[in-house]
Every structure is written in C-alpha cells, then in structure tokens.
Symmetry: C2
Subunit: 237 residues, 2 copies
DNA sequence: ACCTGAACACCGTTCAAGT
DNA sequence: ACCTGAACACCGTTCAAGT
C-alpha cells in the first residue's frame, strides 16, 4: 500500500516541518477531521507517539499549520498603494481560506498567536500610511480583520455545506433562494425580499464592496478631528 | 450522587426541549467539549441512545441549542431608531457570545440555518428603514453580520484564552502588551506601536466604534446614485 | 536523542432488546 | 412510541521499551 513517494518522504528523518507539511496536506484533503494522529503517522510512516517528540499537542499542530499557510499567503502580496494593498490582503486571505477552509476556525483561537499577528501587522502597516490618527489605528485594523476573517469563514462554510450536499455553487444558491422565498411573509420579510438576489451574486464582489464600505468609513472618520461620542454604548450596557 | 433537582427533572418525560435546555447548560459550563452524549444522558437520567430518538446527531443538537439562545436574545431587543436598534442588536449579540462562547463557532456553519437567518432578518429590517437602495441591502447586511460575529467570536476566544491561563482581564492584556512590545522592531513595527494601547482599551467601545465605522460607510454610500465600480476585483482575481 | 506501538480513557453513534 | 445500555469504531495522548 505504500507508494514510492511515501517511502522517499520517510528517508528524511522526522522533523517539525515534515509533520506540519503533512498536516496541511491532510487538512486540505479531509478538512479538520481529516487530521488525526493515526492518519498523520501513517503518512509519515511512523508511530503516533513519535509525533509528540516534535510537537506539543494537536492544538499546537493546528496553529503551526495555520501559521505556515498564512505566512506564505502574506509573502505573496506585493505592496502598491495603501488602499490597493489592503484590498489585495483582504482578497488574498479570502482565497486562502477558500482553499484551506480549516484555517478559518484555527485562526479564531489566537489573538496573540503568530498567524493572527502576521495579518494584524500587515494590515496595520497600510493603515499607518493612510494617515489614520494614532489612537484610532488599533480599532480600525481590528475592524478590518474581524470583517475579513468573518466573511472568509462564512464563505468557506457555505462552500463546505454545498459540497456536503453534493451541489455545485449554482445549485446550492438556487436551493437557498427557494428556501428563503418560502419563508413566512410576516416573520421574514427581509430574507424573502433578497431571496431573488442570492442567485446571481458574486462572493468576491460582495466582499470587496464590504471592504470599500469600511474604507469609506475610515476616510470619513479621518476628517473628524475629535472622535465622536456615542451615548448608546453606556446607555445599553 | 443524584440531586433532588436531577430526579425532579426526569419526572417530565424526555423531550427535544429538555435535551436542548440541558445541552445549553452543559455548553455554558464546560464549553464545546462539555457537551457529550454521556454527560448529557447522565444529566437527563437516561441512556445515550435515548437522545437519538429526539435529535438527529450532535450537529443538529448544537444548531438547536444555538437557535434557542439566539431567538431569546433577539426577542429581548426593543426597536427604537434604526441606527440605535442596529447598535442594540450588535451589542446584544456581542454579550450573548460573551456569555455563551460556544455559540460563536456553532453559528458559523450555517448561512441558511435558522439561527443565522434570525439575525440576518432582524438586521435586514433595520437596513430597510434606513432607506439603503434595494440592490445594496443584502451586501450591507452581510457586512454588518460578518463584522458583528467576527468581533464577538474573537472577543470570546480572548476571554477563553485568558481563563485557560488563569488570568483576569487586566493581567491578560498586560501579558499581550508586554509580548507585543518585545517583538522584532523591523518585522512588527505596527504591533509594537499599538502594544501600549492594548492595556487600557475597552472591548465594547472598540466594537461600537467599528459598527459606527460601517454605518458611516453605509451613509456615505447611500448618497452615491451609482454603485462605484472597482477595478481591483477583476484585476486581482 | 529520537522512535515504536500497545494501552488508556475517552468520543459519537448504532442497535438488539426491552416496555 | 419511546427508552435502555452494551458494543463498535473511532479519537488524542501517554509511556515503557527499544535504538
């Protein structure tokens, strides 16, 4: 059952890098549940226990795999104008999570961890050149990150859902559109009203519109010398 | 080991509702890994198999638990002015996920599912009264939802992380602040520059600032008759 | 120092058997 | 119709034993 490739691979001794690369392959192929210590040790032609010599536990492994892919994605992005670069980063992450859907959830669990930090840094550097006031930079970057990861994760989840139901994109959207148009008219007027639009929308375009929405908000905020005071925050707490 | 309460509970026969309520309690207490069919059947004084008579599988159970909490949260929000209501919905969801961190991940996996739909509908109705052009409503609501859930999830994950390290909020932020200020100056200039701000920030305020950023963007967009054409989308694809 | 693989304590889920 | 609980096929992780 062992292919030439497997044997060759094992010629190199086991290393943290080997393990991470094999993990990424398993995750890409079988999703989060595709990564098990048994599958991993089989692919690496070793025992499950051996892996624990190089990595602490499964969570450590997931973060490391995540970090490797994020670092690669970030290195592929070339800087141009700040807004353009932000869009490129956004789209790069969107497509990364589309190809590696498991990254979405792996990335949540670590604000201080190194993959999330890479993204924060990259966006932050652009926001600085956009001349956003210093006190607002952190919030603005946080807003962009939350939005980018939120949409990308949702997009990946939808694709996953479609695949589970053995539908292509068009069929899946058709199903959702039909389901929404059949909702109760009193309780779900909005969902019904947009049901028709679902069919022909483009995920990337929607995503970039959202990014532009936020960039527009940033620009508008830049020209307000004093940050606006909102009473709702304290009133609603 | 059985308390009076447990016994009393079992007097009512098993039902889907019973099971969902018990699941929520387990999830709140022990997080996602706190919900197991063994713990659940013990709490309900029955066997693991009995549960399968009322629910399809664990995923079904999670969605149902999620839906129950989301429905409750949404019912608590009273409508006022559209912007105010959107902030109230946002903050309501933020606090909901803070109290029930497991909802964050449960909510991702289901764009068409009923908990996500409730949220979409509620926000959508407000966006309609804001007179956003019909073709942009879907995208705008999607933007808000992605942002709200993205930030809330991140916030819940941070709290979880702090708890795992047995730190209170202040200690945790202090740790992050110190870690960021020690990063490499060439590679992480932005993270270093905001390290100091981490210490004294308020999560809710940041969150509402982000919401306002998006609402500002929406307002600006409303006054453009023709939706702006972005070349980056096709250029970057 | 690094690897092996059996063993442990868990999972979700099924299903023959009961009432 | 609804419940029981043993059994199945998995998990992540540990650890004595090897090289």
């Amino acid at each position: 059952m062992k292919t030439r490739w497997d044997m060759q691979r094992r010629d190199e001794s086991l290393s943290r890098e080997n393990i991470i690369e094999a993990s990424i392959a398993l995750l890409d192929y079988g999703g989060e549940e595709g990564l098990t210590f048994r599958a991993l040790s089989e692919r690496l032609a070793t025992g499950p226990g051996a892996i624990y010599w190089h990595i602490a536990n499964k969570s450590d492994l997931l973060t490391a795999a995540c970090d490797a892919v994020v670092a690669r994605t970030m290195n592929e992005i070339v800087d141009t104008m700040p807004e353009g670069t932000i869009r490129a980063i956004a789209l790069g992450l969107f497509e990364m999570i589309e190809v590696h859907p498991w990254i979405g959830s792996a990335l949540t669990s670590a604000h201080g961890s190194s993959p999330a930090l890479r993204i924060l840094e990259r966006i932050g550097q652009q926001i600085r050149t956009l001349l956003v006031p210093k006190e607002q930079q952190r919030t603005v970057v946080g807003t962009l990150m939350a939005f980018i990861l939120g949409v990308s994760r949702q997009n990946a989840a939808n694709r996953q859902l479609a695949r589970e139901q053995n539908l292509d994109r068009a069929e899946f959207l058709e199903e959702v559109s039909i389901a929404w148009s059949k909702l109760d008219a009193k309780e779900y007027p909005f969902a019904r009203s947009v049901a028709g639009q679902i069919r022909n929308h483009d995920d990337r375009t929607d995503f970039l519109t959202g990014i532009d929405l936020i960039l527009t908000g940033i620009e508008a905020m830049r020209f307000r010398s004093v940050p606006q005071v909102r009473h709702s925050a304290s009133r609603l707490r």
